[in-house]
């Protein structure tokens, strides 16, 4: 649209920033990408997200919107092509429910799995698997995506959790999205990450692994 100015403040390895990138790409929105250095936050970021000082932030014609899920709903409301949320109020409520569940339950358990070792790690991984199994119940059998036949709000909100689960599985030698116990979720993840428009936004795996390995090194205490 003529006269529209869309800026996106992100960080290449940020999972929540990826949600917004996916939403922008799926809608075919032109935007300026501003890469933030999270160790040295720019005055722009501090100006546009003074409360949390975090990425992602979308700035639309000078107006900032923060928090990835709020940004995605904003994008869906402003740009009507390729709707991300369903039209029906009940289906919308379900979508919002699953997205909240993923962030409030699945993510903390995955963070624990990542940060802990030994028996505590196994306990956290088990809790994470239970949450992921619950998340799976949001998928309808026979439908490719949480959004049905097309990618929707829940897919892009939850997609990065799938990516990160793979990273945690590799770095911590645990099973999270287990094919045997969560066949639907496992299949969804495989499918989703192969969709070209989704795949091309994901940073290179080895770069992501390296970056997350860096957190593990920082977390390891110097003494026992």
């Amino acid at each position: 649209m003529a006269g529209e100015c869309v800026q996106f403040l992100g960080f290449w390895a940020s999972p929540s920033a990826l949600r917004v990138v996916w939403a922008l790409k799926l809608k075919g929105i032109d935007y300026e990408h501003i890469e933030e250095d999270l160790l040295n936050k720019s005055p722009l970021l501090l100006k546009y997200n003074p409360v949390h000082k975090k990425v992602p932030v979308l700035v639309h014609n000078g107006k900032p919107v923060a928090e990835s899920l709020i940004i995605v709903e904003y994008i869906d409301e402003v740009w009507k092509q390729n709707p991300l949320l369903p039209q029906d109020p009940y289906e919308r409520a379900k979508a919002r429910f699953w997205v909240k569940f993923a962030d409030e339950k699945v993510v903390p358990d995955m963070v624990s799995t990542f940060m802990k070792t030994g028996e505590e790690k196994e306990k956290a991984a088990k809790a994470a698997r239970e949450c992921l199994k619950t998340l799976e119940s949001g998928l309808e059998e026979g439908k490719q995506f949480f959004g049905g036949e097309a990618i929707g709000f829940v897919d892009i909100a939850v997609g990065w959790i799938g990516i990160w689960a793979r990273i945690v599985e590799k770095l911590k030698d645990v099973s999270l999205v287990d094919e045997e116990t969560m066949p639907l979720l496992h299949a969804w993840l495989q499918n989703f990450l192969e969709v070209p428009i989704i795949k091309e936004c994901i940073p290179p795996w080895d770069k992501l692994l390296q970056h997350n390995k860096g957190y593990l090194v920082k977390l390891t205490p110097d003494s026992t």
């Binding site: 409360v51 709020i70 904003y74 109020p89 919002r96 569940f101």
Partner: protein, 243 residues
């Protein structure tokens, strides 16, 4: 659309601000509903069947479909019953700002009550200060984001943020009276004045429980000996990583 009472059922408890928000939304829209009081210490099959994931109130049942999570329910009510009053404005940017501050209230401010309940002495003093700091951020943020057009009691009407924060007014008051002094008007004058104005709004006043009844309830719940349910919440809090 017929307004048969049994078409809309709200499973909730009288003491929960999250449930009161939903009640208020239904009342404002003139939607008849049946209220089912839940005993949280002894959860009913109705609740467990309709919110198997979280097993919490509120849950809205509409034509047999279950919707949990108060903010999700509020948006559902506004989207299904599109008649006035609208809870959220039409403009996407205004909606985004309101959602941001509603989340901030629920995820930061309301959650900051838990550490206060379960701490004591110097630690309690510190978490109370943290709470007051969160209120300050909220005050400054609302001022900055709405620039003179306060989203509270906008034009005398109740909107989304009024429901989110206003229904907590009694709970904060009761908490302040029974558990710990958390409000110092000099520290958070703006938040306090919003809370008092909301509490006095006729529709909110008629919906909220009397704060002395809540204060008694809080003393029962949050002072030892704890019920099994509260003891579990306490355990979870004590084991969680602290900032």
């Amino acid at each position: 659309m017929e307004g048969k009472e049994s078409e809309v059922v709200l499973i909730g408890t009288w003491a929960s601000a999250f449930c009161k928000r939903v009640e208020l939304a239904l009342k404002l829209k003139g939607i008849p509903y049946e209220f089912v009081e839940e005993d949280l210490e002894n959860k009913s099959e109705l609740l467990l069947r309709n919110n198997p994931v979280h097993r919490k109130v509120p849950v809205l049942l509409h034509k047999g479909k279950a919707i949990p999570e108060s903010l999700v329910i509020l948006e559902y009510i506004d989207e299904y019953w599109t008649k006035a009053p609208r809870l959220l404005p039409d403009d996407p940017y205004q909606r985004a700002k309101i959602r941001f501050w509603a989340n901030y209230h629920d995820e930061k401010i309301a959650q900051a009550i838990t550490p206060i309940i379960f701490s004591e002495g110097k630690e309690r003093e510190k978490v109370i200060e943290d709470f007051q700091q969160l209120l300050k951020v909220f005050e400054e943020g609302i001022e900055r984001d709405f620039q003179g057009k306060s989203p509270f009691l906008h034009g005398g009407n109740l909107g989304f943020l009024d429901l989110v924060v206003g229904t907590y007014a009694c709970n904060y008051q009761a908490f302040h009276d029974s558990i710990a002094v958390v409000f110092e008007t000099e520290k958070n004058p703006q938040f306090f004045s919003w809370l008092m104005a909301l509490k006095d709004h006729p529709r909110i006043k008629e919906t909220l429980p009397p704060s002395d009844k809540l204060a008694t309830k809080y003393k029962e719940l949050f002072l030892p000996p704890y019920s099994k349910r509260i003891a579990t919440i306490r355990e979870r809090y004590l084991q969680s990583p602290k900032a």
